[in-house]
């Protein structure tokens, strides 16, 4: 009951957050310098021409009026038309969302594998040179931002040793049988491993660039939690029972030590999605982030709004899921 009430409360607060984001974004992007009409003003345009173009894109009305029109449309599922692409915003952002989600999830999986492995090995080899090496590696991974990792990866695996593709999401010449834009998942479901390999070879470098800093965070936090847990009485008891060190770490210490890391992973996942903006640009990956940069450059106001709101929905949804998962996994909260 407590859990349900908490869930409903979170849902309500999420809705208020989204409304707040929508209002702020709408007004802020109209107040900052640079408007789309100035961007497309042709040579020789007169004041009448400017007024005509302004009216054509509905920007001649006051900002509150524009907001009411836009909000009314949103309530009916109409997020407006992109000024540059002249397509419905919802169609554009939903079309790109799967690419960004797949990239983020792949990055998260890589980060969890790398970070988890570093933490487990570091705990297993605590006090040795191996742990020191892992700490140094973690420090380097954290101190270099993801876009620099991206450039390093491009140079290493795109140019010097061209194993992976540098740009795009899939090789243009391939025929795609997909019904959705979740190419990676659908290629597995359709057992098209040739396409899967091509998609992975496009996604691997951007995903790895995104994953490296997160892996370092996961590695550090999990290792710290594990080390603290390893000193608890029940772990000592497990040792006295004669369990091996690997079993003690994985079966006994890890389930308790993982809870703080899980919360962190949830929070960091939202940052990871935010990080796709730059990474997608560098790898010309056709996701939401890449589209967001173009929208900002072109002052495509409806598209910016749509992308920001979608990002906000993802952020709040992920946080909600993390909170619920934490509550379910934590016996004290579950039974409260």
């Amino acid at each position: 009951m407590q859990l349900l009430r908490s869930f409903l409360f979170r849902l309500a607060s999420t809705a208020i957050t989204l409304i707040g984001v929508a209002v702020i974004v709408f007004f802020v992007i109209r107040i900052v310098p640079g408007d789309p009409i100035s961007m497309m003003l042709p040579p020789g345009a007169t004041d009448e021409d400017i007024a005509r173009l302004t009216a054509l894109y509905g920007l001649d009305k006051s900002i509150p009026q524009q907001f009411l029109i836009w909000a009314g449309g949103v309530l009916h599922g109409d997020f407006g038309m992109s000024i540059t692409a002249r397509r419905p915003v919802l169609e554009l952002v939903l079309g790109r969302l799967p690419a960004t989600l797949e990239l983020s999830i792949m990055a998260l999986v890589i980060a969890v594998i790398l970070g988890g492995a570093a933490a487990l090995i570091g705990t297993r080899e605590r006090g040795t040179k191996i742990e020191a090496g892992i700490d140094v590696g973690n420090g380097m991974a954290l101190s270099v931002p993801d876009f620099l990792w991206a450039l390093v990866l491009i140079l290493l695996f795109g140019v010097a040793w061209p194993v992976f593709h540098i740009s795009g999401r899939i090789t243009p010449s391939l025929d795609l049988p997909f019904a959705t834009n979740f190419y990676l998942f659908e290629s597995v479901l359709r057992l098209r491993f040739d396409l899967w390999a091509d998609i992975v070879s496009h996604m691997f470098m951007p995903a790895l660039a995104l994953a490296i800093p997160l892996a370092a965070i996961i590695g550090q936090l999990l290792k710290q939690s594990l080390k603290e847990t390893m000193h608890l009485d029940y772990v000592t008891l497990a040792r006295t029972k004669g369990y091996g060190e690997n079993r003690v770490i994985i079966r006994e210490a890890l389930p308790n030590a993982i809870l703080p890391t899980l919360t962190l992973v949830g929070v960091q996942f939202t940052f990871l999605i935010g990080g796709t903006v730059i990474i997608e640009r560098l790898f010309s990956y056709e996701g939401l982030g890449n589209m967001a940069i173009d929208a900002v450059i072109n002052r495509d106001l409806p598209l910016i709004q749509g992308i920001v709101i979608l990002f906000a929905v993802i952020f709040t949804a992920v946080n909600l899921v993390v909170d619920l998962t934490y509550a379910l996994l934590n016996p004290r909260l579950r039974h409260a």
């Binding site: 408007d35 003003l41 020789g44 540059t84 002249r86 397509r87 061209p162 173009d294």
Partner: protein, 506 residues
């Protein structure tokens, strides 16, 4: 050769990875030409919306659609879909002859009706053509056989130049009316050298050669244009062999790679300039003249742009029709000091103002402004740099609120003086921030001048007046670097458009 266990493992891993994911095509025969392009293509209609006036996208449009009139790589007009064009004797009507035997990509015949409809559509404000006011100088479009006529509502001597400039494209009347705007966006057709086979927004467009192209079938059967907006990624694409052609990379990278790849670096119709707004200290001619004479353009080009640029003294480049090589503004710091001294300024009492610039929008834009500010400091000018986004520049310029000095790049791919000096310096234009009545008076009569020779001479006189009075600071004509694989020969186009059908097997 002896391999250690570690080396053997490394080699095995590399082989396995390459086998799994497939190495990119390197030096084998090019079946499919891949171009790493520097911008995205947001939409396919080349006549409406912001994309229609984005010069960098025109190369993609021109691969699929033909313009009314063809433009040669040196910017000169040539017969295209229109084979003849001109006015009647009293300039009250335009008469155009349409090429026969041309087909649209769907196989249907191209006719004079298509031309008349495209012109009428462009002139209709409801379509959202940003250049509508140019096309609206014509009315009553009519097609008869292979002849199209229109009445001149107001005489514009440059109307035929717009027919190979922004939004000057011929679209298929019957097809467009059948499929509508959405259908056209989904499956665009033109009469151009390439047909759209596949388009992934923000990712790539795959083109197939138009076998029936009136100008001859292109050399490459299939062309994929990948949208790679990051310069470092574009360089990596071409260096790794993932792409065969790319453009607009840092000049240092161009110099590094032009030995191993084919390199072409040719001047294009874009120029770098500094707008002077007639406010504050810029109302003082001595300050303006000092600003102009204190800039060593050639050294800036040599040091910052590795020599890739052409110093200019007016807003015309050598390819433009009104270019006058006799107009010179010398680098003369002593003269600059004299001008400043005449107004009571000097190194100990510098004149102060703000200069705005973008950073990274054009090659070394910010660095160039930094160098200019350094040169100015030596003669007694203290300029504070403000960095802004290009969108803010447009907005401030349209509102006539630029700082006293503002760096910008100006494109003029038709090379006519109206679309360089004219719109940049004519006070009432939203692109101009110089509002002096004397200049408005000089430029005004040239807009409708029907005598072409007189018109061009008139613009040259305007340029001389601008240079003499330092009303703007022309800096340089940009050079566009293009890198291509050894098997590809690229013909650069002075407009800056990278055109696949001008690429041949080397």
């Amino acid at each position: 050769m002896k391999l250690s266990r570690r080396e053997l493992m490394k080699l095995s891993a590399a082989t396995a990875a390459a086998g799994t994911f497939g190495l990119p095509a390197l030096a084998q025969d090019i079946d499919e030409l891949v171009i790493a392009y520097n911008v995205n293509l947001p939409s396919w209609d080349p006549t409406t919306g912001p994309s229609a006036v984005n010069p960098t996208i025109q190369g993609i449009y021109q691969s699929v659609f033909d313009q009314f009139i063809l433009q040669e790589p040196d910017l000169s007009p040539a017969p295209g879909l229109l084979t003849e064009w001109g006015w009647n004797d009293d300039n009250t009507q335009v008469i155009m002859k349409v090429r026969e035997g041309v087909t649209w990509h769907d196989g249907s015949p191209f006719t004079a009706e298509d031309v008349a409809w495209s012109l009428a559509r462009a002139a209709d404000p409801a379509t959202g053509n940003p250049i509508n006011f140019v096309w609206a100088t014509l009315e009553n479009f009519a097609a008869d056989g292979n002849t199209v006529t229109a009445d001149v509502k107001s005489f514009d001597p440059t109307i035929f130049k717009w027919m190979y400039f922004l939004t000057g494209y011929v679209l298929p009347k019957a097809y467009y009316e059948k499929v509508g705007a959405d259908g056209f966006e989904a499956a665009p057709i033109g009469t151009g050298p390439y047909m759209v086979e596949k388009f992934e927004r923000n990712a790539f467009v795959r083109l197939k050669a138009n076998e029936n192209y009136w100008g001859g079938k292109p050399d490459f059967e299939t062309v994929t244009i990948k949208f790679v907006t990051d310069a470092a990624a574009r360089v990596a694409e071409v260096e790794s062999g993932n792409a065969h052609v790319t453009l607009e990379m840092p000049y240092e990278e161009y110099d590094r790679l032009k030995g191993t790849l084919n390199g072409v670096a040719a001047p294009i119709s874009d120029i770098g300039m500094i707008f002077l707004n007639d406010i504050d200290v810029m109302l003082d001619p001595n300050v303006r003249k000092a600003c102009v004479h204190a800039i060593d353009k050639q050294t800036i080009i040599d040091r910052l742009l590795s020599g890739y640029g052409v110093a200019i003294d007016t807003l015309q480049t050598p390819e433009y029709e009104a270019y006058d090589p006799s107009i010179k503004v010398a680098y003369d710091p002593e003269k600059a000091k004299e001008y400043l001294a005449a107004s009571g300024y000097g190194p100990d009492n510098p004149v102060k103002f703000k200069i705005q610039t973008t950073k990274g929008f054009k090659p070394k834009d910010y660095e160039m402004v930094q160098a200019i500010v350094g040169l100015w400091r030596k003669v007694g000018i203290e300029a504070e740099i403000e960095v802004y986004e290009i969108a803010k520049h447009y907005e401030l310029r349209a509102a006539d609120q630029l700082a006293p000095a503002a760096f910008y790049n100006w494109g003029n791919s038709v090379g006519d003086p109206t679309t360089s000096t004219g719109f940049a310096m004519f006070g009432p234009s939203p692109h101009s921030v110089w509002d002096g009545a004397d200049l408005i008076e000089k430029i005004g009569p040239l807009w409708g001048e029907a005598d072409e020779a007189k018109r061009i001479e008139g613009w040259k006189a305007v340029d001389a007046y601008i240079a003499e009075n330092a009303l703007v600071i022309p800096l340089l004509q940009y050079v566009q670097p293009i890198l291509s694989a050894k098997g590809v020969a690229v013909t650069p186009h002075a407009s800056g458009a990278l055109l696949p059908h001008l690429m041949k097997r080397a």
